[in-house]
Amino acid sequence: MLNENYLLVLVLFPFIATLIVAFTRGNAVSWVSISLAAIYFVIALLGFSVKELHYTAVWYAPLGLSYGFYLDAYSYFLILLSAFLTLISLYYSRGVIHEKLAAYHALFHALQATVVACLLCDDLVFFYVFWEAMLIPMYFIIGIWGGPRRIYATMKFFLFTFAGSLLMLIGLIATYVMYYKGTGQWSSSFHSLLEYYQAHPLSVETQRWIFLSFIISFAIKVPLFPFHTWLPDAHVEAPTAGSVILAGVLLKMGTYGLMRFAVPLFPEAAAHYAMPLCLLSVIGIILGALVAWRQTDIKKLIAYSSVSHLGFVTLGIFMMTEIGWNGAYLQMINHGISTGALFLLVGFLYDQRHTRDISAYGGLAKILPAYSVVLAIIAFSSVALPGTNGFIGELLIVIGSFQSKVASWGWVVAASTAAVLGAIYMLHLVQKICYGKNQDPQNEQLYDFRFREWVIYIPLVALVFIIGFYPEWLLGPVREKTMQIFSTIPQHLR
């Protein structure tokens, strides 16, 4: 059995990896970095059987600060996803990125480090520090290896998320101070705060203010309509691997924050704002899908589809049902797999043709048969076809939300139209790329999947079907965790 030291390894390994990679020189960089990522993935896999782990060490007792780390199903699967996607993105980057290789790889490990630390943190101060720190590596990844409008994109990305984070800081401080006022002791440990606030809920008025400050920060990260406009710009300019991690991991931090902190700490306020938040989610779902359809830039199309998919996640969360939460969590993982794969698939074309214009392609099913098959599978996983991972998440969200007391079932029907709209934009994408006649003689020179691509896509496609046909390995632990959280939420709010 693994003990608390496992947590330390989990947290510290990526930091050490960052340092090692940063000081490696020459041809070894890629391989050292990829091996480290692989080792980390294996380490993360080892924790599969762990149900719950807790580690605390005092940092500064007078202010109640501690090095607290906490692992459960919610944090575990996101860590696994992060390790998996980081490994795949770094492997993909080999041979694609040539400039400042050591810095590039080091930044990805740093990103991984901050993400994992943020996921595992039990201490609110630490949480805030890593939440902010996550921005920095991504800022540089887009800003240095990004496309032509990268400066605008990074500015927008940074200012948007940073503005949100500052609001959250106010909320965090309020949570911290209120605890002191109540107990006469300082503590920033999430668990003691949670225990206290469950026993002595704050007045609804106070809860609402603190909750709002949290929610804006998380909503920007997710991103929830109308805070989503930074996402398409950031994705378009980011290098492929950056997009994969951004969509696959970073966005999930927002929804994770909602499920881990915002709702459990302030259930009354969450219930109070649930309805408008559901409305925003539904708007995001429909807007994202319709706008995605009208895009000519493939990456922008996928970015807007992310807005739509994450709308489903937030809908599942704010509808406040257990089934919906399980679906929402599963959908976070699914989105990481499917959208990550989609960005990699776009990257595959972009690296060869240096254009993301959808009309530059066509008829590729003849020229790139293997590529087209994988693209079709991933596209159908994204439109939630039964048998793929996307379906399980969406079904659970829809079925759960339908029973909710928060909002009328009509909203669920409205959200479900995304099943149709999703098919429209995804089939549009597949058709424009794979079907019809080849639009450009340059496409004839394209090469199909080689060994490297198979290494990347076989696991991704396998996951699509494994989750699609046997989701229990993931759903089981998550369901238990959700049950535990819901047992603390007052009955009338669910």
């Binding site: 109308p226 359809w293 009208r294 159908f380 039964p386 659970l396 058709q431 019809g436 046997y470 229990e472």
Partner: protein
């Protein structure tokens, strides 16, 4: 494996997995060996034998299951501690009947396709999709939960998408596939909502538990409301998959796929899924008689509507496509009139004769080097005798000439319609019966009689194709025996078998009923003969003229429904998408943000002027600040 359930689960697992395994194999072989002769041989022999194995597995189960049985493979999705859905099969008369049709007709069509697709570069890919389709169809048929049915339901839609756009280099085919999938998805939305509503009421999605809970009675008004919603959803789903008004528009376009596909998917099996679903969930509908009424009306209207379009089509496959829509309308009419056995009976006979007609049409198209326009056919009965005679049986069967299968099953539906005393439905049904025999007569005469008006010399198709035609012709002729009315000395075996799971009003056995049924049969066969005769005289000497009057242009253009949908829905959605992108995202949100940015830029430009670098000025500001502080302190005192 002594335990009978274990044997059953093994056999049924094999039945479902053979096609799935096949799909993977053919894909691999097709990729590995391209379109070499050997690969083609392996794939065709393999695909047909896999299908045959699957058929015999279902047949074995059919013969060995008494009443109904359930076999569970493994747990799929767990909703909460109380409820989960499994990969599990419900083996009862309804599912086994459809299963036999799917695998039986499926095997025949696989055999046919191995001849028809000969030499196509996508040979392996074709059988991959076809086998995958059969797998999905079996999941749809046998799954014991609505989620499992939904897996098959969407799976068949997926395969249909791939097969319609099989020759994807033509933009048109790709568009047709996309249209089919998207329109089907609108229906699937209804299915999804139905699942939500039922889960809300009963907390489970397993069909036997659901139906038991419904039949247990004592439902609150609230529960009844959700059941009604679920019924609406299921009807929407059924209209999508079974191409009924208002979602029928995809099926005519679906003819862009290879002809065996049209026969298997778009005539015999997939499109009947809606009928199957509504029969399966009949207890829900029995609580909502007004929805059954709507269903009957949709069916009747679709029947006459599609038939009226079929008359004016010149593409042989389009005629059959509209005919399929129309016949499916008949089935829904029967379901709506609480005659599910009649609907199922027509489903079976229709599967036989429509598959026959499509494959016959395919044989003609094959023989005429991919000519599909009936205006360029004619007089080929001598050149293609086997095709001619088999198609003739098919035409007579669908036209309702006694004692062929189509006559018996259609007569049963007409019988139920007659006794429903709803004059509009009776009018719809009998008019459709007439129109059906007319347009089928037209097809038959234009294709096989008169002068040859084509370009290529016709030739008879290979044995693998004609053999299938012969088998299907025999089935189309005799399938009526399955449910030959007792009044006329039959045994109504299907009726007896299916009554265990669906309810249908029992027929009377009086002398009066006998004469009335005879009268009805007389009328219906007269109608059929009249249609054929009229077509014979109208088209015997066809030389290219058609209906010229402007009123017919409406029929010819299919009532402009496609154009109306495009104008009212698709274009508007496109506009909304664009407006949301440029308006909401671009103008409002980013406009606001960029506005904030420029305000702060401008403000900082102003404030920058304070930094003049002159010490005296700074000293002045310090002095003013000091005074202000002083003033502040004084006022707070």
């Amino acid at each position: 494996m002594d335990n009978p359930t274990e044997i059953l689960s093994f056999v049924m697992g094999a039945a479902a997995l053979m096609p799935l395994l096949g799909a993977c194999l053919w894909f691999w072989i097709g990729k590995k060996f391209g379109n070499e002769k050997v690969a083609e041989k392996i794939v065709s022999v393999g695909a047909v034998s896999f299908m045959a194995v699957s058929f015999f597995c279902v047949l074995y189960t059919f013969l060995n299951v008494e009443g109904s049985a359930r076999v569970t493979f493994f747990e799929w999705i767990r909703f909460n501690s109380k409820s989960a859905v499994n990969f599990a099969f419900l083996l009862d008369p309804l599912s086994l009947t459809l299963g036999l049709v799917v695998t039986g007709i499926g095997t025949l069509i696989h055999l046919y396709a191995s001849g028809y697709m000969h030499g196509d570069p996508g040979f392996g890919r074709f059988f991959t999709y076809l086998n995958l389709f059969v797998f999905s169809m079996l999941m749809l048929t046998f799954s014991d939960s609505l989620v499992g049915v939904f897996l098959g339901w969407e799976g068949v839609g997926l395969c249909s998408y791939f097969l319609i756009s099989f020759w994807f280099s033509e933009e048109e085919n790709a568009n047709a596939g996309k249209k089919a999938f998207i329109v089907n998805r609108i229906g699937d939305l209804g299915f999804l909502i139905a699942m939500c509503a039922l889960f809300k009421v009963f907390g489970t999605l397993n069909i036997p538990e659901l139906l038991a809970a419904v039949q247990a009675g004592s439902l609150t008004p609230d529960q009844l409301f959700w059941i009604k919603i679920a019924c609406f959803g299921l009807v929407l789903g059924a209209t999508g998959k079974s191409a009924q008004i208002p979602l029928y528009v995809w099926l005519p376009d679906a003819m862009a796929g290879p002809t065996p596909v049209s026969a298997l998917i778009h005539a015999a099996t997939m499109v009947t899924a809606g009928v199957y679903l509504t029969c399966r969930m009949q207890p829900l509908f029995l609580l909502n008689l007004e929805i059954l009424e709507i269903l009957a009306f949709i069916g009747g209207l679709t029947a006459i509507f599609a038939a009226s379009i079929a008359i004016f089509q010149n593409d042989i496959k389009k005629v059959l496509a509209y005919s399929t829509i129309s016949q499916l309308g008949f089935m829904f009419l029967a379901v709506g009139l609480i005659a599910p056995v009649a609907a199922f009976f027509h489903l079976i006979t229709h599967a036989c004769f429509k598959a026959l007609l499509f494959l016959g049409a395919g044989s003609v198209i094959h023989g005429l080097h991919h000519e599909q326009d009936m205006r360029h056919m004619g007089g080929i009965r001598k050149k293609m005798p086997l095709t001619f005679w088999t198609v003739t049986i098919g035409v007579f069967a669908i036209a309702g000439i006694p004692p062929l299968s189509g006559f018996v099953s259609k007569d049963e539906i007409l019988h139920f319609t007659w006794h429903s005393h709803r004059w509009w439905l009776i009018m719809f049904a009998f008019t459709t019966a007439f129109l059906t025999s007319f347009y089928m007569g037209r097809l038959w005469v234009m294709t096989f009689f008169g002068k040859f008006r084509g370009h290529h010399e016709a030739h008879e198709s290979p044995v693998s194709m004609t053999a299938v035609l012969i088998v299907l012709a025999i089935l189309s002729a005799i399938a009526g025996a399955l449910n030959w009315p007792e009044l006329w000395g039959g045994s109504e075996r299907l009726n007896e078998y299916l009554r265990a799971v669906v309810s249908q009003a029992a027929g009377e056995h009086t002398e009066e009923a006998f004469y009335s049924s005879l009268k009805l049969a007389g009328i219906s066969s007269l109608v059929g003969i009249a249609g054929l005769t009229l077509a014979w005289f109208r088209y015997r000497n066809f030389a290219g003229e058609e209906f010229k009057a402007p009123i017919f242009r409406i029929f010819k253009n299919k009532y402009y429904i496609d154009e109306i949908y495009d104008f009212a829905v698709v274009q508007n959605l496109k506009r909304i998408g664009y407006a949301l992108w440029k308006g909401v995202d671009g103008f409002v949100i980013d406009g606001f943000l960029n506005g904030c940015a420029s305000v702060s830029t401008k403000a900082s430009l102003r404030f920058r002027r304070l930094q003049t670098g002159m010490t005296q000025q700074y000293a002045l500001w310090v002095w003013i600040g000091f005074l202000l502080l002083l003033f502040g302190a004084w006022s707070l005192r």
